[in-house]
Symmetry: C3
Subunit: 137 residues, 3 copies
């Protein structure tokens, strides 16, 4: 079994942003030289997520709207008694989930025709990290 | 390390449907001859999901109802400016998540007594695919 | 490739409870002697979840509140026609997801500074199980 680990750093301009990282992850898979295996893409912060969906601007704004409906930005989260103001970001991260496992077949990400991998930042404008860890052979 | 990859095709009669694929996945695990490892079951389309829960009709209808409340079918999603009408299916897919990783122990799916694996179709009536990829030894 | 499998038992005092299992899982990783790999932590019951987030009491109560808003305790779930009363627990489990995959690097959980692993019980006060399965080398 081989393994390959890299870290991706983000520092988004906006507080909330979806960043398409498909090509970056694909490049890491190629440099791992692993032909068959799994690629874990996992946020290392608890106010960010990783998900797979469509690269389409309308949809991205629909996703933000849904998450804002289900876990709205609010002043009165109990978490804010610590001095933080990012309670909604923790909740949004839980809902989209903080990680995906991507299959690797024949040395490439084995994704469907429209599947793209996104880093979902819900409390940005500071340096945050994602781990990309590949195991296989 | 060994790996084993298969693809499952679906073409559901209804637009929205949950299909129990536990036995099919179990069969694939057996034919992989992998005794200890992980089995990734992952939708390759962005309007479908995969989840683990109970085979009980009342519950399945409760799950649909919850998803319809949280991500309702609507005409006015921004995604629909592209000509699509399946914005809700993308959002429902995000909420249930598009994949699970099933543990394999002693050559079998190591699931709890009531755990069943479902393909969740939210925009069906056309051919769609799920990857089942097993790695281990 | 090596593998290591353990089961964690829970019997929570309260019906709903989040239990921080980070140290327990870390100990299992150490005893596996696997240096590079993946650690799957997956609930074996369909009314419980596993998630990664912050060890902060205010936030934990915010998470419960959000889940209660999105999937409230109710008498009239269709699932209750079977005699059960835990429909909300199934739905909450779906929303937080029932599993995580933790990266292992250099023999340790490769988590971000604030990431903690939680068992999320939504229908407790009875014995329930989580599988921790590690593969790698």
């Amino acid at each position: 079994m081989k393994s390959h680990t890299e870290y991706l750093w983000f520092n988004t301009h906006k507080r909330r942003e979806f960043v398409n990282i498909t090509d970056t992850v694909e490049r890491m898979v190629r440099s791992s030289e692993i032909k068959e295996g799994f690629c874990l893409v996992s946020a290392m912060h608890i106010t960010a997520g990783v998900f797979v969906n469509d690269e389409e601007n309308g949809l991205k704004s629909d996703i933000f709207e849904m998450l804002e409906n289900l876990a709205p930005y609010r002043k009165d989260y109990k978490h804010h008694l610590t001095g933080e103001d990012n309670g909604d970001a923790h909740l949004k991260s839980l809902l989209v989930h903080h990680q995906v496992v991507l299959p690797i077949t024949d040395g490439k990400l084995d994704l469907g025709p429209w599947q793209q991998v996104f880093y979902a930042e819900f409390d940005g404008q500071r340096r945050k990290r994602v781990i990309v860890k590949i195991i296989g052979e």
